[in-house]
Symmetry: C2
Subunit: 118 residues, 2 copies
Amino acid sequence: MPAPLDQCQCRIIHEEKVQRARQSLLSGEETDRLALFFKAFADPTRLKMLWSLLQEEMCVCDLAALLGVSESAVSHQLRLLRQAALVTNRREGPVLYYRLADDHVRQLVELALEHIEE
Amino acid sequence: MPAPLDQCQCRIIHEEKVQRARQSLLSGEETDRLALFFKAFADPTRLKMLWSLLQEEMCVCDLAALLGVSESAVSHQLRLLRQAALVTNRREGPVLYYRLADDHVRQLVELALEHIEE
DNA sequence: GTATAATATGAACATATGTTCAGATATTAA
DNA sequence: TTAATATCTGAACATATGTTCATATTATAC
């Protein structure tokens, strides 16, 4: 009677370690959502956008001018940030003002800055 | 006398906002390093690896068995995490035990979990 | 020395990502 | 309604990313 294989036939050196780790392993859905969240911060342009919105709300064309990229590129990136629930907007006539959705951005970027400054 | 152009000729709606944002804009080098750092967290496999190493050190083949991916893939990912200064290792004979380099990982992932659970 | 185990590496490949371009949509003013 | 402004969207493209495969290291045991 062969031992039940979970998902691979790799050799395992420390069975106990693997067992323990398997207990608290993040689910595929959790890691997918986490990865999506972190991906939002994993691009220089988006980081500059988020950093600027930390100070005050801004519209698409101001962000484009500030960052030196096209308004279309900014719009695409803002959609990604919206999907990650990091920014929201309010409309004033034809102008959309974007702002941060909550305070996680500040905390996260500050933690990261601490790390890279070491 | 034309106004000095910085890096684009886009139209700007709120000149003052753009000026203020430009004051505190992150440098290209800062955002590059930050992006690299966040990229390390922006993948389900790496997140699972980091999450497991949060508990205790593990070797390459245990991680491979745990996650159901090849040892080569794990090795490649660990190199990326090493370059991001997120993990270090110690050798015991032919076996390399990987562990987290500092406590930023825990804080960062916990912040992110807070965010996605809202 | 040779053989074996654990890990690392480089090339190749498929997929994902970020930008640009052209065109669509939405809002306001005339 | 028409025109103008601000933004959005989809397709196309080049580059980046993550995995696999084959092969190279490294350390130990014989």
